[in-house]
């Protein structure tokens, strides 16, 4: 199967008609489905954008796959439970993905985090890892000074298969000692990386080689074993795929790495001594700059979620789906112990795997439920932002003389506790351009960025044609068009309300 990037390139050189044909064939659709839809003259609801994609396409099983659409009353294409809680297919528990186990594990995909390349040396996978100071763009234009590896924070993902032997050459480019710990591995103690208990520090500019066999499978990670360096961002995925693909096989294997920092206002350097944490990142980005996870309707999805916050546990909630917790960091959980949940508490330095069938199309928020983590800073909502007549710009326009404040109180203040609504920050045009520059967000509601904040990202479950349109085509997609199309097909288009287009 070609990689998504290759497909994207192919689609760029071919015509869109050819592209739909390709997609149509891939999905085994009939000839009609291959014709681009003629939208002009179609009657549409006042609010609704023009229909897009191939509206007549029905969710179907790809020809290449042998899976079923329904298992004991559980449908992979619509929200459903199944008939029996004791069934293996209850809430899609063991419903397989489209991908065959024989194709090997689904590629691990942690948005915004690169993969660490390796060289083979006599059957050993050799990785080079460089601890260093890194500048990381948490938000468009908001570049923070943190520590990471190989120019990345979090560090690049090390991806291996159970049974591999790895050699990791660590060269310390920090101006201070460091240690690297391979979190969760049952390796010979001399390579464990625990500061001075098992090894001497890696001095600045010096190199240390770690080499060990991997007999485990699971979600691991590497991190500095110097507490403040951990707090400063030094962590990366270490994914070990099982030698034999787990049953049932998944189509998607996503990774979300949660971190917290305390970065004072007007600053770019985290206070690693802080007991309070105001910047929250997923894979090094803070909502709404987090990159949505995009999958196809009916796929089996795994999300591995690692909480590498310094001291805060995160109750993680996914909307629109009930997921099974199928493993924690060190090992896959026997199926008999899997738990279905909407919200999983992930403690510090814990990783949980969520598996579910994406049977409910839409843009679903995936977030920590701690309300103070659902935004980037907690600031008191007083001052011009909540006053009717004032914007901060009038203060900035003339620093030497401030505007008069209106001391009269509106009736709204008769309500104790008013206002509780957190007023959003004023997002610049550059900021919004950067948010909308990513293909993963194409067709989302126009003001989605107003609500996806802090430890929040979005799971997008898209019908095949819309998936291709969003992820693999260069066709312009109007803001809100994909969302509206999903409402048109799966929801209640008569009650559709478009997003106010205040934000671009």
């Amino acid at each position: 199967m070609p990689s998504p990037e290759d497909r994207r390139k192919f689609l760029k050189v071919g015509s869109f008609a050819a592209a739909t044909g390709f997609v149509g064939n891939l999905l085994g659709r009939d000839a009609n489905a291959q014709e681009p839809m003629q939208h002009s003259g179609m009657k549409q609801h006042d609010n609704m954008p023009q229909p897009i994609g191939n509206a007549s396409a029905r969710p179907e099983i790809p020809a290449s796959s042998e899976v079923a659409a329904e298992y004991e009353g559980f449908s992979r294409f619509k929200p459903s439970r199944g008939l029996d809680p004791d069934s293996d297919y209850y809430i899609g528990k063991l419903v397989p993905g489209f991908r065959k186990a024989s194709d090997g594990p689904a590629p691990f995909e942690a948005p915004d985090i690169p993969t660490l390349p390796y060289k083979m040396d006599n059957g050993v996978k050799v990785f080079e890892l460089v601890p260093m100071a890194v500048q990381q763009e948490f938000h468009p234009g908001v570049k923070m000074n943190v520590y990471g590896y190989n120019g990345s924070m979090p560090g690049p993902t090390i991806e291996v298969t159970q049974g591999d032997r790895v050699r990791i050459v660590v060269t310390n480019e920090l101006p201070e000692d460091t240690f690297v710990h391979w979190h969760g591995f049952e390796l010979p103690v001399q390579y464990d990386g625990a500061a001075t208990l098992t090894q001497n520090p890696i001095k600045p500019g010096k190199t240390k080689v770690f080499e060990f066999d991997i007999h485990e499978e699971g979600t691991f990670f590497y991190h500095s074993h110097v507490a403040m360096q951990e707090a400063f961002g030094q962590v990366g995925w270490f994914i070990v795929h099982p030698k034999r693909v787990f049953d049932p096989p998944v189509d998607r294997d996503f990774g979300l790495l949660f971190q917290n920092f305390h970065i004072p206002p007007t600053h770019t350097i985290s206070d690693s001594w802080s007991m309070d944490w105001n910047w929250h990142t997923i894979n090094g980005k803070s909502g709404p700059y987090t990159t949505p996870l995009v999958c196809k309707h009916g796929e089996r999805v795994r999300v591995r979620l690692l909480n590498f916050a310094p001291m805060q546990h995160h109750p993680i909630h996914l909307h629109g789906h009930t997921f099974w917790v199928t493993s924690h960091e060190g090992a896959r959980i026997p199926k008999s112990a899997w738990v279905p949940r909407n919200n999983e508490l992930v403690g510090v330095a814990q990783a949980s795997s969520f598996e579910f069938i994406a049977n409910n199309p839409g843009d679903w928020i995936f977030h920590c439920h701690m309300i103070h983590h659902m935004m980037n800073h907690m600031v008191k909502q007083v001052g011009p932002r909540m006053r009717d007549d004032a914007s901060v710009d009038q203060y900035l326009a003339n620093l030497s003389s401030r505007p008069q404040v209106d001391a009269s109180r509106s009736d709204k203040f008769a309500t104790p506790g008013y206002p509780q609504k957190m007023q959003g920050m004023e997002m610049s045009e550059d900021f919004m351009n950067a948010i909308w520059s990513r293909k993963e967000v194409r067709g989302m509601r126009a003001n989605y960025a107003m609500s996806v904040k802090g430890l929040m990202t979005v799971l997008r479950v898209l019908p095949d044609d819309l998936y291709e349109l969003v992820m693999n085509s260069d066709q312009p997609v109007e803001k809100g068009a994909v969302f509206a199309e999903i409402v048109r097909r799966f929801g209640d288009p008569g009650k559709y309300e478009a997003a106010p287009r205040m934000m671009m």
Partner: protein, 421 residues
Amino acid sequence: MISETFPTETEVQGYRLDDFLTLAAQNNPTIRQARLQISAQTAKALQAGLYPNPTLNYIGEQIGVDVEGDKDSPGEFQGMTVSQRFVTAGKLKLSREKYMRRAHISEHLAMAQQFRVCNDVRIHFFRALAAREIVELRKELLKTAEDGAVTARELYNQGQATRPQVRKSSIALQRARLDVLSAENHYRESFRRLVAIVGVDLTDGVVSGELMPQGEPLSYQEAMSLVLTESPELAAARAKLAADRVTVRREQVEWVPDIVAEGGAGYNFEAKETTAAAGVSIELPVFDRNQGTIRQAQLDYRRQQEEIRRTELMLQQQMANVYQQYLTALQIATEYDRVIIPEAELAYQELLESYKANRVDWPTVLDAQMDYFDSRLTRVQHLEQVRTNEVLVRGYLLHGGLMAAPGPTPPGHIDAVAKPR
């Protein structure tokens, strides 16, 4: 609140420093006083050099003496003589020179008086200017305090401030209002004092100008050499020494006797013919050769030498104090200008931007705003110090433009004769 109306720029006339200096030159009474002192001394010089008048005498001698053919004659001699004192040794010239030199002292003192007045005008002008700017800054701080009170109520309604905190913000607000009132009162006072020195009746007005001095600051050596070479007070003391030298010379010739000659004609009833009379008198300086007064004049001369030295030292002492205040205030104001205010402004700006980006809360911005306005207030207060002390440093430490202009002579001088000498 009890308050007077406060003038605003648009309502009343604006005045610059030059306007006040011009007005003061025309209207301050002490400047005229000082000029009158010069005239008084030249009048005295005129008087001192006037030649003594001749004396016309009628003489009737031995009235009733019996002469041949006439008992009870009208007298032996009946006639008129004229006597004239001939002043010797250039006494009148010396006296006139002495008073001319005193007039010269008065000229220096008049110059000093002009500096006293101008310096006072400048000082009170800069005080008024500073007071004016302080009023504006106090008004900004009042707006911040108003915002603080509104913010406290907003916080209170969200459970984020207690009732005492709201009350505290009311206190801060009322204090800020009082600060504005007292700043306004202080401005009025400064303006009225300025107008009093100028010597004209101006009602309300506003002053305009630049508080920050332009050009390089004076070094202590420059300031000291300026005052030692150019101070009108010192010049007056030196002129006084010259006058005292003449006084010595004048007293030294005082003992030289004038010649008084007398001559006339009359009728001699004894000889029955017209006869003439003549006489010359001269005082013999046997006992009184004016030696006491000469000595007194010489001692006065030496006293004046010490007076010059004393004046120099007094100026040095004052300069040490004034220069220190000038330098300290200049250092503070310059660094407020160069570093502290720009930093405070940037802090305020950065926090506004952070607030805009939802990163800090408004009370933090208000704190920064208050710091920024407050540091500007401190700058103005120090610039006022810079300017008042700079005026003294450059103006030979002279001030007190409403004190009566002094005369040329301190007590202890020889003036106790009817005719000045």
